[in-house]
Symmetry: C2
Subunit: 253 residues, 2 copies
């Protein structure tokens, strides 16, 4: 058996999320169905770097699976894409050692969150439309308050069972391009809804409801109710997943 890692892109709009569940179409079940078909009925289990929620997109989700098929390491997209629905695509593949695990050996993740400040029909379901003007400088100042190692309980959905809520955020930037804003968050790991709560809080700074100086107190509260609203799923993209050894060197966007 050979372990294969793949980079996967999907449009989250028509999925009930990544992970298999009783009701609703999921990315995992589509991947496993295509792989099982390719393996002539032998079930293939897929492990991803982590789940994504309903409506959340991925340009750099990473999965692994084991296979006895002798397909050249970079050819899995060619083999599998014709069996996948049009809203999922394998973008790259490579052989990895048996010690590689898409979920347990990650060293970090990057998420991006897209906001449009003018309605744009082509960004429907792919960005969040904020119909008011935003103070970019204030949001950028507040974003710096999120960078660091903290107990991020304030930025974690209240109904989570995770005990250790200390995470390190290494990057929180906002890029402006035309009428689009892109929030970039990178870190060693993220709690449930953490990116969406962080962006929702930064947007409240952008509208003047909160000030950049509030960020310190929000984090120190270690209480979900101290932070802002959870931003909608549509704008969120799992952008890339990092491992000790970089994967898919040539296929990076």
């Amino acid at each position: 058996m050979q372990r294969i890692a793949c980079k996967v892109e999907y449009i989250g709009t028509s999925f009930a999320g990544y992970q298999v569940q009783p009701n609703g179409r999921t990315v995992q079940e589509e991947l496993e169905r295509a792989l099982t078909k390719l393996h002539r009925g032998t079930p293939v289990k897929v492990v991803a770097s982590g789940r994504t929620d309903a409506g959340v997109h991925a340009v750099g989700q990473v999965i692994h699976f084991d296979s006895a098929m002798s397909i050249p390491e970079d050819r899995w997209p060619k083999a599998l894409n014709p069996l996948l629905p049009a809203d999922i695509r394998l973008a790259a593949s490579q052989h990895v050692s048996e010690t590689f695990h898409a979920r347990f050996t990650t060293t970090g993740k990057q998420y991006r969150y897209k906001v449009v400040t003018q309605e744009d029909v082509f960004m429907r379901n792919r960005a969040t439309y904020v119909p008011v003007s935003l103070n970019l400088e204030a949001m950028r100042e507040a974003a710096q308050g999120i960078v660091g190692t903290y107990d991020f309980s304030s930025f974690c959905a209240a109904n989570t069972s995770v005990q250790d809520k200390v995470r390190t955020v290494t990057r929180c930037e906002i890029i402006q391009g035309g009428r689009e804003l892109e929030f970039i968050l990178e870190g060693n790991g993220f709690l449930y809804n953490m990116v969406r709560i962080a962006v929702g809080t930064l947007l409240e700074v952008g509208t003047g409801k909160r000030s950049p100086a509030d960020m310190e107190g929000i984090i120190a509260a270690e209480d979900r109710s101290a932070a802002g609203k959870t931003a909608p799923a549509d704008g969120l993209y799992l952008w890339s997943v990092m491992y000790a050894e970089p994967l898919f060197q040539q296929a990076q966007k």
Copy 2:
């Protein structure tokens, strides 16, 4: 009655085209339905700069209509967008004189055609995927052969009733951005399928099937069969429509 001009964006994917027809959903009928509803049942006719085919998108279609409603000139998007389906949006509006006519007073149009050279799930139905490498320099040289005033019969769908096929193309450029190519064609008017046939021919230059030097003979032939295949509708965008007096100054992308 006041004449109003609007800039309209739409995703062409779920439409049978712009113009009302017996079968299939069209942009025109959705616009007229929303306007008639806003006018409490009084039918409102919409005139566009021209039709677009099934699957073709618009970021800068221009329409006009006449109304007795006293809505401030820039407020038509606010009034009409809530009544429109999510794949059509008014982006701007302004009052124009009675001599303005969205179709008959145009002075030029710009189309853009998007091609991706690597499969991209987010560009599905929004760009044409060309799975081979393209010679950008050769395509750019060939593109210059299209600029000028010519009888463009070779770049016109065979089944057209238009008599005068002389048009002036003022710009034919190819912009590269990451794994996306954007063909920009601007001119005083375009024949049926002209942009798609021009792009299809340029792509055949890009793959080496034709050479840039062939363009002169293709145009001189004045025969549809001399040119390349018609490129698919998905990649085509009506980008902007020009009039003697510039419209929507502040809302341009």
